[in-house]
């Protein structure tokens, strides 16, 4: 019931000056993958606009602290279809035996929060808004009938967490006087091109009060963009170009060394 009311309040939040609101921005909305790209630090910041009615309530409730706000920031990279393979021993050799296909899995997923996620967001809310990485993947593997599909989902999360593609950044968001918030999230070097949707949730008592959406656009730039486009649009020309480079470099270098040695 309470959730329903909050949901209604959230919807009403679209109307001006109703419930509390969250508004955010990014230090940069564009990331260029150039030759020297080695990851990028993004500052996500914003403010909470408190509902004036609730402010009075808050005064009286201050003692039990139930009106404390929490902020959850989710950055989700472009979704891709993946196959997770499991090795098993066959004739003494470890080889890929089973696989589970997942139709759409985020290539990057970071959840930054003011406090551990499971303490500030109820499981229902998590499922509804698909906040945690598990929820974000959840739907993709569900259609598979395999009994140990859950194991494959676990493995996907484990591998991607290790490679810093999935990040759980607890207590990463700094909240200033319950009004201003900010977080520094590091995007790794192995980014996929596309739109990285950034969702910011204002959370209170385990439920989402308000949300704000924006996006970071990651694209290859400069020479990298040119090379990548050529490889996919003109593969024959690209293949020939790589040959020419190989031939010129291989021949040129040995010719150069011959001149050096003779002089």
């Amino acid at each position: 019931m309470r959730a329903l009311i909050l949901l209604l309040l959230t919807l009403a939040g679209a109307l001006p000056a109703a419930a509390s609101e969250i508004v955010g921005a990014l230090s940069q909305s564009r990331v260029s993958l150039t030759t020297s790209f080695s990851g990028s630090e993004i500052l996500i910041f914003g403010a909470i606009r408190r509902d004036p009615n609730e402010e009075q309530l808050a005064e009286s409730d201050e003692a039990n602290g139930s009106t404390d706000y929490d902020v959850v920031i989710v950055i989700e990279g472009p979704r891709q279809p993946v196959a997770v393979w499991r090795k098993d021993r066959r004739a003494g050799i470890w080889m890929n035996v089973d696989s589970v296909a997942m139709a759409s899995v985020p290539s990057f997923y970071a959840v930054a929060t003011t406090a551990p996620l499971n303490q500030i967001v109820s499981p229902e809310t998590d499922a509804q808004y698909r906040i945690s990485a598990r929820q974000a993947i959840g739907g993709a593997a569900a259609d598979d009938a395999s009994p140990d599909a859950a194991l494959f989902t676990e493995a996907l999360m484990r591998i991607r967490e290790r490679s810093q593609q999935y990040l759980a950044l607890d207590r990463w968001v700094h909240l200033d006087r319950d009004i201003l918030f900010r977080a520094n999230v590091r995007l790794p070097a192995n980014l996929t091109e596309g739109a990285y949707t950034t969702r910011m949730y204002l959370v209170q008592n385990g439920a989402v009060v308000s949300q704000f959406r924006t996006a970071i656009f990651v694209r290859k730039d400069g020479v990298e963009r040119w090379i990548h486009q050529l490889a996919f649009d003109q593969p024959l020309l690209y293949g020939l170009l790589s040959l020419v480079i190989a031939l010129v470099a291989g021949w040129g270098a040995s010719a150069l060394f011959r001149i050096i040695r003779q002089s």
């Binding site: 993958l33 150039t34 030759t35 020297s36 790209f37 080695s38 990851g39 891709q80 279809p81 993946v82 196959a83 997770v84 393979w85 499991r86 090795k87 098993d88 021993r89 003494g92 050799i93 470890w94 080889m95 890929n96 696989s99 296909a101 290539s107 494959f152 493995a155 996907l156 484990r158 591998i159 991607r160 070097a189 192995n190 996929t192 290859k220 990298e224 963009r225 090379i227 990548h228 490889a231 996919f232 593969p235 024959l236 690209y238 293949g239 020939l240 170009l241 790589s242 040959l243 480079i245 190989a246 031939l247 470099a249 291989g250 021949w251 270098a253 040995s254 010719a255 060394f257």
Partner: protein, 306 residues
């Protein structure tokens, strides 16, 4: 110093790439081999996706063979006719290999296939080379020379479609050279190697070609086959990384020059024993990866176009 590789889609240290290129280039300069059989597994170890490693490895072989080909052409130690027959086989083999590569990738078994081929071929070739070079070393220490007969008649000479190869002084069927060429073509597509380590012994012992023209002719076949393989990988899989290839080649040419200098100071027999041991070491390393239970049993494959 990091560089972002546009096709492999990862950032790698330039010095690592130059180091891999230089190290392999040095060995190839010392031993006169292409080095593709070392570059591809090394690229796996630094996290380059197998498809990109194999395709880019083929491109690197083109660069490391060109100066050798030109030198041999100038010295006229290339049997162009034999080279062309081997090349026709190579192109057929490469086409089959590319198709095989796509098919195995779709099945998710390409890593296994590449590793198994490495274990098999490096194991056999390394063992043969070691045995041969040890025997040669033993022979030089003991007495003069136990020379091989110039014309040994084997099953090769009984096959039809005979052709005259004047430079090699051979009159044999075109079937064995075509088969040898095709086998090397498949290897170049699946393993990203030139295949010299298998073609040179095959030319000497199977076809009975004179040693003088073997290296030049094999290089002639290798450069065209790997060039074709590179373009085919680029067209069918978009998996050739120019930036990666560039740094490998850059390191490679420098390393090769150093290697040649070092190679001149060592004795040929010792060099061959070293190379055989090196080939066996790579073989054992790849085999252990297959036999020892991996720390992570699961792996992720992103499907469809990048």
């Amino acid at each position: 110093m990091l560089v972002y590789l546009p096709i492999a889609e990862i950032s790698t240290n330039i010095l690592t790439l130059l180091g891999v290129g230089a190290g392999v280039g040095m060995l190839s300069g010392m031993f006169g081999v292409g080095g593709g059989f070392l570059i591809t597994p090394l690229l796996f170890f630094i996290g380059i996706p197998p498809a990109v490693a194999v395709a880019t490895g083929a491109n690197q072989v083109v660069a490391s063979s060109i100066s050798g080909v030109l030198a041999h052409l100038r010295r006229k130690t290339v049997d162009l006719k034999m080279g062309t027959v081997l090349l026709v086989g190579g192109l057929i083999g490469s086409t089959v290999g590319i198709w095989l590569f796509r098919w195995l990738s779709a099945l998710g078994q390409i890593d296994l296939a590449v590793q198994l081929s490495y274990v098999l071929f490096l194991g056999v070739v390394g063992a043969l080379m070691l045995q041969e070079s040890l025997r040669a070393w033993y022979r030089t220490k003991k007495t003069g020379s136990g020379r091989r007969k110039l014309h040994q008649h084997t099953w090769v000479h009984a096959l039809p479609f005979k052709m005259k190869f004047r430079v090699s002084g051979l009159y044999i069927s075109v079937i064995p050279p075509l088969m040898v060429g095709a086998a090397v073509g498949i290897l170049s597509a699946v393993m990203g190697v030139g295949g010299g380590f298998i073609m040179v012994p095959a030319m000497i012992y199977l076809l009975g070609m004179p040693t003088k023209v073997v290296v030049g002719t094999s290089l002639f076949q290798i450069i065209f086959t790997t060039a074709y393989t590179t373009v085919m990988h680029a067209v069918t899989g978009h998996s050739v990384d120019i930036v990666l290839a560039f740094f490998l080649i850059l390191g490679g040419v420098i390393g090769a020059q150093l290697g040649t200098q070092i190679g001149l100071k060592l004795k040929a027999e010792q060099l061959r024993i070293l190379l055989a041991l090196l080939v066996l070491a790579v073989c054992v390393k790849v085999a252990l990866d297959l036999l020892i239970q991996p720390g992570e049993l699961y792996s992720i494959r992103v499907m469809g176009g990048e």
